[in-house]
Amino acid sequence: MRDRRISVALLLPSLVGIILFLIFPVVQLVLPVIFGVKSNETYFSFLKATYNQQIIFRTIGIAFVTTLGLLVLAFPFAFWIAHQRVKVRKLLSLVILFPMLTNAVVRNFAWILILGRNGLVNTLLMDLHIVNQPVRILYTNTAIVIGLIYLFFPVMVTMLIDSIVSLDQSIDEAAAMSGAGPLTRFFKITLPQLTTSLLTGSILVFAGAMTAYTTPQLLGGNSSLVLSTLLYQQSMTLGDWRAASIVALTLILIALASLSITKVITKRISGGNEV
């Protein structure tokens, strides 16, 4: 009994903190949307508005392209790093960690310098006489996608490196002994073992891209709103709390859905390892 009281005393501060200051406020936020007066009507009328639909589709589209781009770009890079000597690999991991720990404003500002009207890309294009007028890249969906890929690239790469490194080398050797060539081995032996990490990594990045704020704010601006920037605009600029709450609920649902999918995948494939 005394033992139990001690356990409770140790757990209680964190538990109360999170319930009181996170779960309670969030529930308070979404309950009126779900159970309030004419809640269904408001929610569906929000979804029906063409403007909002555009934003939802844009958000999904951007996250989808970002994820796809990351899969294509990060996998070979991770593969390259994973096959370096341990010392080099550790050094490269540090190099990758640096942007990951650098302020998102800084990272996005770098892309403003590159993609802006007088930025690096436009300067190069005009100097080479490929275009006469600066091309508009900043404040487009493309800019957001580029920024998000840059933002999540290190995350995706580190995740993949770990699972590639932990692959059992002897399986590949056994396949080689049975006469499988390098390409066959890659597609029939290596890749199938990495499906879980590729899938969970993709879902993680997808959810992150759906809910990220700083990148779409700086590289998309008001001309290319996504759900998170819409949430801020509705609440703080326009003062429409109701609409903001609806957006918030949508974002929560997206996050929880991706979490559940990830859980199901990892449970099924790796036999219950927590993610």
Partner: protein
Amino acid sequence: MRQKKHWLLTLYGYLMLLLLLLPLVLVVVTSFGSQAAITFPIKGFTLKWYANILSQPDFVTGFKTSFAVAVTASFLAIVIGTPAVYALTRRGIHHANWFQTVFLSPTLIPEIVIGFALFQSLVIGIKLPLMPVLITGHFLLSVPYVIRMLTARLLLFDQTIEEASWLSGASKIKTFFRVVIPNISGTLLAIFIMCFINSFNNIPITLFLNGPSLTMLPTAILNYLQNNYDPTVSAVSVILMLLTGLMMWLMERMNGLTHVNEHLNQKGQK
């Protein structure tokens, strides 16, 4: 065949490495350009933009406040989170998974939503001043780092060492402070740094909880960027990168970066 594939992959590797670092190098380069508008290639060499940082009160006070908030929130998260982790890893708690999920829930809910929710219910709802709410928000951000990194460390720390201490006559509390803490101090420092970086850099939560009387550095830069496009931002960015570098160096000395990687693997950074 194998040789050729390897050669291509190496080229790709270096290319991506370049693309990863080039944007940051660009920021550094532009911070020294003497022209007020950032153009390529930069002209001249000056340090005046660094001096200009100091003439922006928002940046100076923002830095101080952000620093103070980050230190307070990280410290709180460690003080409050450590007992919980200890209970979860050592005391055979029922439904430990459930507790774990609750403690990690700040990573499950998008940060922008957390900011909005805190603002609506604590600032508007019960009229709390901004500062405590801001610290609360950053505390919430930090808790998952404490839970994950410390759980990993304590699971590696042989429990029989504590048992040996109890048998030697040291009470459980004494054992915790004399035996457990000295052995996990490196990890605790690494956790502190991770929480600090994360809190110091945070935007989505901070956005809702700052105000005219409460300036935070990342949002101050964000505001400055809406109206200006001069190398001052580059200069601030360089300072921030130096800070990141310093923190990484500190953690590397603590040998804690391996844990950091593990943690970041499981959480997308926003």
